[in-house]
């Protein structure tokens, strides 16, 4: 029953997230609240990583397939974007390019200016 137990934990956090999002009418999706709840529970040692690790890994390693049914839904929704799909692509192209360049430059600048010990930290991070 180990896997079901792990699943129960993750479903519990998911449901709690949905409940909080709905009851308090928050703009934040329940799934994100659940994610933060799980993160806090791990951080404050209410649960340990090994108690959710296996099911978590199963869900995350195969995350993409979960979006397939929603993606196939485009065959129903295509009329909505038929007239401007190329505009959406153009916007995506421009904004993604700007975003990558901007973030890359900004992070590099802040890092070189304020985080001198970059190399040491990098190695420490890798060892963990």
């Amino acid at each position: 029953m180990e896997l079901y137990k792990q699943l129960l934990y993750i479903l519990g956090f998911s449901f709690a997230g949905e409940v909080i999002s709905n009851v308090f009418q928050l703009p934040m999706p329940g799934s994100v609240i659940g994610m933060l709840l799980l993160f806090c529970a791990l951080q404050f040692k209410f649960i340990k990583v090994h108690q959710v690790e296996k099911v978590g890994a199963f869900l995350l390693e195969n995350l993409s397939i979960l979006f397939l049914p929603a993606g196939v839904g485009i065959m129903v929704y295509f009329p909505i974007i038929r007239k401007n799909w190329w505009l959406l692509l153009l916007i995506t192209f421009i904004t993604t390019g700007v975003s990558i360049g901007f973030i890359g430059k900004l992070v590099q600048w802040v890092k070189r200016k304020y985080e001198e010990d970059a190399i040491d930290i990098k190695q420490k991070g890798e060892q963990k």
């Binding site: 995350l63 049914p69 196939v72």
Partner: protein, 235 residues
């Protein structure tokens, strides 16, 4: 009788898993960003349904089972966030500053362009969270009355475009810090960008993965606020 069989939940599940595995094989053989497994599998399933004249509703009987798991899978993202949290603490300033301002520019520019091109409100809401990982993006989009499927398609397109144009842009702008490269790719092109970041090295990969979570949380707040502001000023 045919209809009875295709509306059996088993049908949608088998088609989904089978076509995804096939797409994965094709991607393994030709690892080009355009052969993104999810994109390829989507095309394959649609092709199959059109050929067999099977309505989406029938396929979704089984497909919904995968769909239900999106929320728990998003919650599970809390685990890698916990595992990489020490990296965030060490590089907190550059990562947080980069992602907050970067996401702001990204969402704001998307909104402005959307208004210039006169997109409908629900389409605009659907594309604002496009740089965030799919699960969170759909949650954000639905909260803003967007169309989940449009969000999904544009999120995948963003990932593919980002992983293709990202490396040349970073090279052109002389971005050489591993942390900067990783955060730029993960924050702009989520998991598909992270796959590209991993080709640079492990630090880039870890940073990129971390950036996905942080960008998700930042966008949850920024997207509705900016949508409201843009709506106020221009609509």
């Amino acid at each position: 009788m045919f209809q009875e069989l295709t509306s059996n939940p088993m049908f949608g599940l088998i088609v989904s898993i089978g076509m995804y595995l096939l797409a994965l094989e094709i991607f393994k053989r030709w690892p080009l960003p355009i052969f993104n497994p999810l994109l390829l599998a989507t095309v394959l399933v649609i092709f199959l349904l059109k050929m067999g004249k099977i309505p989406y509703k029938d396929y979704y009987e089984g497909g919904s089972m995968l769909n239900v798991l999106i929320t728990p899978a998003t919650v599970a993202l809390g685990i890698p966030l916990y595992n990489t949290f020490h990296l965030l603490k060490h590089h907190a300033r550059s990562i947080v500053v980069g992602i907050v301002f970067g996401s702001f520019v990204n969402i704001f520019l998307t909104g402005i362009l959307g208004l210039i091109f006169k997109l409908d409100h629900d389409i605009l809401a659907s594309i604002l969270p496009k740089s965030v990982t799919t699960a969170i993006a759909i949650g954000i989009s639905e909260k803003m009355c967007g169309v989940a499927t449009v969000t999904l398609v544009i999120v995948i397109a963003t990932g593919i475009i980002g992983s293709i144009i990202g490396p040349p842009i970073l090279k052109l702008l002389k971005v050489e810090e591993p942390v900067a490269r990783g955060v730029a790719l993960g924050s702009s092109a989520h998991a598909i960008g992270t796959a590209k970041a991993m080709e640079y090295g492990r630090v880039e990969g870890a940073m990129s993965g971390l950036a996905i979570g942080v960008t998700g949380v930042v966008t949850v707040f920024l997207a509705p606020i900016l949508l409201n502001l843009l709506g106020h000023w221009f609509m």
